[in-house]
């Protein structure tokens, strides 16, 4: 057993421990304290991940690869940014952030463990635990009247899915005699597929779709993102997506290839439904975070449909699209941290009328990111859209082309409402000063977007290399 391979996780555990100790024994533990500790923990984990990117802790059970490293890197990066911004939030609210940071670290731990897991039992267990943990995340501070019913509903369905998954995993491992991906894949390949075998595998894959928030299993996303506090919303919006996406690919490629093939028509339908629900749902909302939640459903619908072909090019295309969309969504959520009035973080559209007048930079970045989400050139989203369209054309999937185009037009209608509120409506309320750090983050994300759009070839080459291994 190579313990070095577990170093990132060890670092996170250590950080958690330190957090607990600080919480218990230090009187004046501010949000900044917890953030600083978490930051160093994440940094250490990040470095360790990069150094031991191809080390295995337990062969066949827990292995690091180029694939898992890539996604872990993104998880750590996005998590770090979320933590930084969350510190600003908790500082302004002046209540404890220990619960938040500790839960985040736990969540990251489970997610990264899931990425490296090569055993279905381990994978399912950590992912389900990590997902169930979100119940506490949702309950973090905030308005309990609003978050309590949402968290209960969330828990109910999360438990149902956890039961499905664990039942499926249990039976599958019983039948196969092993939990390793390779063994499962071999079993599926050499034996005829009964409906039970199909469902045991399907539950795992569908559970991941549920966690991602793909329709028709999306029903929790809008409520959760709309009700939870901003740090929780921004974390859940971006970070876990990379993990679930990567695990989905891994399972489909290495363990559940056969059920995945059979499930494809259903996944195709789910992707189409996601595109439509995402686009239409965004139009019916006045809560900005719910609008972005639906946007995420739209994005994931396209990502899923790209994955279905399941070759090197399609995975690459789907990942590029996912990455640029998550960058844009991340940018939007980062901007949300600047939308405050009288100490309250604003979420409803009508509260943000005339934002451009008093916060032109914030309004401008939100405009840029939303336009990028629509795939408008010359922004980064266009890069993703080119990959998407190129893929559809290559496989002559003209129905999808039409569906995506209609979806973009409908989603654009929702974004136009937002832009109109920011830029064309009269200012109704005064906005509080935003922390300088938020501006730095936004500027940083903007610069990344600009640099990538001007010179994307090097960045895309590296990603292509990393992803190449998965289908090999």
């Amino acid at each position: 057993m190579n313990w070095f391979a577990l170093l990132p996780e060890i670092f996170i555990l250590l950080t958690l421990a330190v957090l607990v100790l600080v919480r218990l024994f230090r009187d004046r533990a501010t949000p900044k304290t917890f953030y600083t500790l978490s930051k160093y923990g994440i940094l250490a984990a990040f470095v360790a991940t990069l150094v031991f990117y191809d080390q295995s802790f337990w062969s066949g059970v827990y292995e690091n690869s180029l694939h898992s490293t890539l996604f872990k890197v993104f998880i750590y990066l996005f998590a770090a940014v979320t933590m930084f911004l969350s510190a600003k939030y908790f500082l302004s609210k002046d209540y404890s952030s220990f619960r938040f940071y500790s839960l985040i670290l736990c969540s990251i731990l489970f997610l990264t463990a899931g990425l490296s897991a090569q055993d279905i039992r381990l994978c399912a267990a950590v992912l389900e635990l990590g997902f169930l943990l979100n119940f506490y995340l949702i309950r973090c501070s905030g308005n309990d009247d609003e978050t309590y019913p949402v968290s209960i509903n969330f828990m109910i369905y999360a438990l149902i899915w956890a039961v499905f998954v664990l039942w499926g995993v249990w039976n599958l491992t019983q039948i196969v005699g092993s939990g390793r991906f390779s063994d499962i894949a071999l079993y599926y390949k050499n034996n005829s597929l009964s409906w039970q075998l199909y469902f045991y595998g399907a539950f795992l894959l569908l559970a991941l779709l549920y966690k991602l928030g793909v329709a028709p299993f999306h029903f929790w996303t809008a409520d959760v993102f709309g009700a939870a506090i901003l740090p929780v919303g921004s974390y859940l919006m971006i970070v876990p997506v990379f993990a679930y996406y990567a695990v989905f690919i891994q399972l489909a490629a290495e363990a559940l290839t056969v059920p995945f093939e059979l499930l494809k028509p259903a996944l195709y339908a789910f992707a189409l439904i996601s595109i439509f629900i995402g686009a239409i749902g965004a139009n019916g909302e006045i809560n900005l975070r719910r609008i972005m939640a639906y946007s995420r459903i739209f994005v994931l619908g396209i990502v899923l449909v790209l994955l279905l072909v399941f070759n090197q090019e399609s995975i690459f295309s789907s990942f590029i699209y996912l990455l640029v969309s998550m960058l844009a969504l991340g940018g939007v959520f980062a901007a949300f941290y600047a939308l405050k009035s009288k100490g309250d973080y604003l979420r409803r559209l009508n509260e943000l009328s005339g934002l451009a007048e008093s916060k032109p930079f914030i309004a401008a970045v939100m405009l840029i990111f939303m336009v990028s989400l629509l795939g408008f050139p010359p922004l980064l989203g266009f890069l993703g859209m080119i990959s998407v369209m190129n893929h559809f054309v290559a496989y002559q999937d003209y129905v999808l082309i039409v569906a995506v185009m209609i979806g973009i037009v409908v989603l654009a209608a929702a974004y136009l409402r937002v832009i109109k509120t920011f830029y064309f409506d009269m200012k109704r309320s005064n906005f509080d000063r935003a922390d300088t750090g938020i501006y730095f983050i936004l500027l940083f994300i903007l610069l990344i977007v600009l640099v990538l759009v001007l010179n994307p070839k090097y960045f895309m080459n590296d990603i292509e290399l990393a992803l190449r291994g998965i289908i090999a």
Binding site: A356, I386, V393, I408, V409, A412, L416, K420, P456, K457
Partner: protein
């Protein structure tokens, strides 16, 4: 001599202007003068570069020069290519001059001047890229990207009464853009790589595919031009804009449709697509007539100007449909003068309308007490009618001749529509010049001497281009 990337500079210079505009200080004391100066300097610098580009290029139509290529993506492999001929450079110059006039027209409007100039410069940068694009991907990038500054300018400064109309306008354009995107990706994929605009007609696909792709392309371009029956969405927005600079920007968009048709129009038309041309012509003439008729009955001067411009755009489009490339240079010459004329007319009308609203005067006789404005407005209207005061005179003659030879009935309808819009504009001129006695303390204020000088300089530019806007290239 080191190679100077003129086209890249023309695209990036306005972006640099945006940066300086964002950094410029504007408060109650400066009243938008700093950002205005930045915008004017950016545009003038760009004009200087365009003239420099002209002097380094030959005057032939169709011979792409000053080519620049940049590798953007490796997978899929996308090279962004830029290049110009005299036609596209001329259109670029026309756009710059039109925007210069528009910026001049809003120089005394201090409210949100910074945002206005930033979006205008962004639009300028993108339209330069569009006019310089040589391959389909870069063409598409700028074709779509232009919508963003357009939407922002109209929404923020257009004073549109019905926002729903603006949304519809944007979504309609977006539909067109997406159709083009799909068609371009099909072409790109079919060619298995980079595809230049002048190579499109060499692509051969299955019949159904050709029909769908070409129809999508043409529908996308038509979405930029106020074509019947969708003209009301465009007209409701374009004619409702009060700000002259925004009006000019909004009404430069049909130019992108026409230019797209010219660049994409295949040298050798695939047989499957020949019928598309007939459909396009029918739609064009119906639109011309329809919009001309509505312009005739509408009392709003902005609508009259909009209908005048739309009819002329479609007229130029019909000219570009003629089965000869030789006439395209004439279309370009006419367009060059046309853009400058309508920009000047719009700025002058906007000034008059502001005076009207401020002093509660009627349009009748408003120019009677504004001799400077009256003189220059009359000049511009005459030039717009096609009298020998600009390049439109001789070049419209060439276009009409071509139309009469190749398609007589189309030419007749087109001429009828042109006569209608000319009548409407002329009638408006006479109404505004009528002799009306007004109370002495409620007289409209004439344009300043500086404004009059500027407008007469524009008139001189038009007169100098009477025979050939490219006179300075011919030595």
């Amino acid at each position: 001599m080191p190679h100077i990337p003129y086209l890249l500079i023309l695209i990036l210079l306005p972006l640099c202007g945006i940066f300086f505009a964002m950094c410029s200080q504007d408060n109650d004391k400066t009243k938008g003068r700093n950002v205005l100066s930045v915008a004017l300097l950016s545009v003038l610098a760009n004009i200087a570069f365009i003239i420099a580009a002209f002097l380094n290029a030959s005057s032939e139509y169709g011979k792409m020069q000053l080519k620049e290529t940049y590798l953007w993506l490796e997978s899929p492999k996308i090279m962004l290519s830029f290049g110009v001929d005299s036609f596209s450079l001329l259109l670029m110059l026309g756009v710059h001059l039109a925007l210069l006039i528009g910026i001049w027209g809003v120089r005394n409007d201090y409210v949100l001047q910074k945002s206005r100039m930033i979006f205008t410069l962004l639009f300028l940068s993108l339209i330069n890229g569009f006019l310089a694009a040589l391959d389909i991907i870069s063409f598409f990038i700028f074709f779509e990207a232009m919508l963003i500054p357009l939407f922002m300018l109209i929404g923020m400064f257009g004073e549109i009464k019905r926002q729903a109309g603006l949304f519809r306008f944007m979504l309609y354009n977006l539909c067109g853009v997406l159709l083009l995107f799909a068609a371009i990706m099909v072409l790109y994929h079919h060619n298995k790589g980079a595809l230049m605009l002048n190579q499109i007609s060499d692509i051969r696909m299955s019949r159904t595919k050709e029909i769908v792709v070409w129809s999508s392309i043409f529908l996308a371009f038509l979405s930029r031009i106020p074509i019947w029956p969708f003209h009301s969405w465009v007209s409701a927005v374009s004619s409702g804009i009060k700000n002259p600079l925004v009006f000019i920007v909004a009404n430069l968009m049909p130019l992108s449709g026409i230019y797209s048709f010219i660049r994409f129009w295949p040298q050798s038309m695939p047989d499957t697509v020949v019928f598309v041309m007939a459909v396009l012509e029918i739609i064009s003439v119906i639109s011309m007539l329809f919009i001309a008729l509505i312009g005739l009955i509408n009392k709003d001067i902005q609508y009259k100007i909009f209908s005048f411009m739309t009819v002329y755009y479609i007229f130029f489009l019909l000219g570009s449909f003629l089965p000869t490339d030789q006439i395209l240079l004439n279309v370009g010459f006419s367009l060059f003068a046309f853009m400058i004329i309508f920009a000047a007319i719009e700025v002058l009308v906007s000034f008059q309308e502001d005076e009207r609203e401020e002093k509660n005067l009627s349009a009748e006789g408003i120019l009677y007490k504004m001799p400077r404005a009256s003189a220059v407005f009359t000049f511009m209207v005459f030039a717009g009618l096609g009298l020998p005061l600009s390049a439109m005179f001789i070049n419209n003659f060439v276009i009409v001749s071509g139309l009469l030879v190749y398609n007589f009935s189309t030419a007749v309808v087109a001429l009828l529509a042109l006569i209608f819009v000319a009548s409407a504009l002329l009638k408006e001129l006479f109404v505004r010049r009528a002799k009306v006695e007004t109370v002495s303390d409620n007289l409209p204020e004439d344009i300043s001497k500086l404004d009059a000088c500027f407008m007469w300089m524009v008139a001189i530019v038009l007169l100098m281009s009477l025979s050939d806007p490219l006179w300075f290239m011919r030595g």
